[in-house]
């Protein structure tokens, strides 16, 4: 019986493949794309100002509302600025770590680093955010440590800066930035390390052999070949920052972020269409970001 079935399946490759793919396709199609389309549809509805009911008619009124209020535009720009800053910082910090993991560490050291990079992700996200609030507090361990180093004036100087500063790290954009970078760094390190691991040593040797100094080898060979990993990692850090609403509500200055607006609009305000329109913003921004990355040749080496 089984043998007959196996033989039948083996003969019909297409059917066999379809059978295997059906469950994940259903999952992807209905749960992922379906809900995404539902979301998009919601953003094309509008809320009736008087009855607070959703009017199921296609309209761009919600988007008009989203983009015509300066406060909403502020929120989008604030979130975008934070996402860009976090992504850049994560890339700069992740590169040396990923490079060490991929090229220089022995097997034991490499395992240690992989576990070390991923371990923070094993604990609860909320615990980490609240822990950071304590770390960054005015009398917190970080300011104590900075004081021990005699760098308190530098910290105070940074906190006195406009926009990013604040009364303490825990209630400033600077502190929020630190927490974001901490949270998403593993998502940058891992794809970057994977990309760097695929660059054979002989390419770097060939570059040096042809007369390139280490800096030239980095610019001409390592960086272009690491770009796909960098692009993948930055999509993570970028989109995770754009969509997060817990970190901005626990740590940092009181300004709103996109995620917080989504949370508030669909909850207390009960404006589902506006919430949906807000959550379309990160999708559009990431789409633009990917198009730009492709333009710049980030995926040419794939």
């Amino acid at each position: 019986m089984m043998r007959v079935l196996s033989a039948k399946l083996y003969g019909r490759r297409g059917f066999y493949l379809a059978l295997l793919l059906l469950p994940p396709l259903l999952w992807l199609g209905i749960v992922y794309l379906g809900s995404l389309l539902a979301l998009l549809l919601q953003s094309l509805y509008a809320i009736d100002e008087f009855t607070a009911r959703i009017v199921p008619e296609l309209t761009l009124a919600t988007y008009r509302q989203l983009l015509s209020h300066p406060a909403n535009v502020d929120i989008i720009l604030r979130t975008l600025g934070m996402a860009v800053a976090v992504t850049l910082a994560a890339a700069v910090i992740a590169f040396p770590v990923a490079n060490y993991m991929a090229r220089h560490a022995g097997p034991a050291m490499k395992g240690f680093f992989y576990v070390g990079v991923m371990m923070p992700m094993w604990t609860s996200y909320l615990v980490k955010v609240y822990a950071w609030r304590l770390v960054l507090a005015k009398q917190g361990i970080l300011s104590w440590f900075v004081d021990q180093l005699g760098l308190t004036p530098a910290l105070e100087g940074a906190l006195a800066a406009p926009v990013v500063g604040g009364p303490s790290l825990a209630s400033s954009y600077l502190g929020m930035f630190i927490v974001f970078v901490y949270m998403w760094l593993p998502f940058m390190i891992l794809p970057l390390a994977a990309a760097l691991e695929r660059v054979p040593d002989s390419l770097l040797q060939a570059s040096a052999d042809l007369g390139a100094r280490p800096g030239q080898t980095f610019r001409n060979v390592v960086l272009p070949l690491a770009l796909p990993g960098l692009a993948a990692g930055s999509v993570f850090t970028f989109s995770l920052t754009l969509g997060d609403y817990i970190i901005p509500s626990v740590v940092g200055a009181p300004g709103y972020f996109i995620g917080m607006m989504v949370y508030q609009q669909q909850g207390t305000a009960g404006n589902i269409p506006l919430a949906a329109a807000f959550s379309v913003v990160p999708i559009v921004l990431i789409g633009l970001y990917l198009a730009l990355a492709k333009r710049l040749g980030a995926f040419d080496a794939l």
Binding site: L203, Q205, A206, D209, L210, G211, A212, L225
Partner: protein, 344 residues
């Protein structure tokens, strides 16, 4: 004349493993020099020390009389053709070839012109705008060669450059490389584990074994006068006769090597040339190899000796497996060997 490359008592240890020990050699300008040996014998380590990818733990490396032991690869006037070609996958063929000029700050139009010129040398101009991923193995190999030549190095290092190619292409490239070397007058250092390749291309060959040079000579000398049993067996095939067997055959207890093609196969009744060394044995089998057949004979003194004879020999009735035969060779064909370290 100053040597193009000189190694003085060079050694390289990796922790407790010795990859190279007390290697000294000098390569003359314009010479085609081969480093030959089985894998793990230290020949590639040796090449990496000359290129500067690695530094010796002992001794010194000189290029053109200048000590470069501590000089990084990007400041050495040598270029390398890598075993895996190491072409940059994100650059076109022309950009790959022009890379050496790019990092020296040559403007784009000038380096494109030079790149096309060097690509012409290996007959690949029409592929200048392809990506390495779109090339065949043989084409990649030529691009790697062109890229290594663009800086006009005094020394070209080749690390098993033909290892990944199929037999016909390999033979074609051998001729091409040799011609190119003549034309450009560049010193070639060529790493290979293929003794045929080394014999047919090199001016001199250093045979490596376990991190040391076992013998350094011209191909002809290496083949005709191998110094040790290892060289005799590794370069061409040879019968190595151990001391105690040699004592029974010649009366002298000294090991010797004899090439199969220098052994005659006779039927016992046939007359033997005067002065020849002879031994009787039983024919085990005959392997047909086209131009010549290989006769495996277990001689009465113990070991199996191989004789290679043209198809037409021996004249008359062909002996069959199991028959008694007579092997004969002239005394000067046997090469006395130095008792080297035992062969594992």
């Amino acid at each position: 004349m100053t040597a193009a490359i000189e190694l003085r008592g060079v050694g390289r240890r990796f922790g407790s493993v010795t990859a190279l020990e007390q290697v000294s050699l000098a390569v003359a300008p314009g010479e085609f020099f081969a480093l030959l040996g089985p894998s793990g014998s230290g020949k590639t380590t040796c090449l990496r020390l000359i290129a500067g990818f690695d530094r010796p733990t002992q001794g010194s490396v000189l290029l053109d009389g200048e000590d470069v032991t501590a000089t990084p690869p990007f400041e050495r006037n040598v270029n390398t053709v890598f075993q895996d070609y190491a072409l940059f996958p994100h650059m076109s063929v022309a950009d790959n070839v022009a890379y050496g000029l790019k990092v020296r700050g040559v403007p784009a139009t000038a380096r494109r012109r030079s790149a096309l010129e060097v690509l012409g040398l290996v007959q690949l101009e029409e592929l200048a705008d392809r990506r390495p991923g779109q090339l065949s193995g043989g084409q990649k190999q030529r691009v790697a060669l062109a890229r290594a030549l663009i800086n006009r190095p005094k020394v070209l290092l080749l690390d098993e450059p033909l290892g990944a190619l199929d037999l016909r292409l390999r033979e074609e490239m051998q001729t091409e490389l040799k011609t190119l070397q003549h034309r450009l007058g560049i010193t070639f250092v060529y790493v290979t584990h293929d003794q045929g390749e080394a014999l047919s291309m090199a001016d001199r060959i250093a045979v490596f074994r376990e991190g040391r040079i076992e013998q350094l000579d011209a191909p002809r000398v290496l083949y005709v006068r191998p110094r040790t049993a290892f060289v005799a067996r590794f370069v061409g095939s040879a019968n190595v006769v151990e001391a105690h067997v040699a004592a029974r055959l010649t009366g002298e207890a000294r090991p010797f090597a004899i090439r199969p093609e220098l052994i005659e196969v006779l039927v016992p009744a046939q007359p033997v040339r005067a002065g020849a060394i002879t031994c009787e044995g039983r024919l085990e089998d005959v392997q047909y190899h086209g131009a010549a057949s290989r006769w495996h004979v277990r001689i009465d003194a113990g070991p199996v000796l191989t004789a290679a004879r043209p198809e037409s020999e021996p004249a008359g009735q062909m002996p069959a497996a199991g028959d008694r035969v007579l092997l004969a060779w002239s005394p000067e064909s046997a090469v006395p060997l130095v008792e080297g370290p035992p062969i594992p």
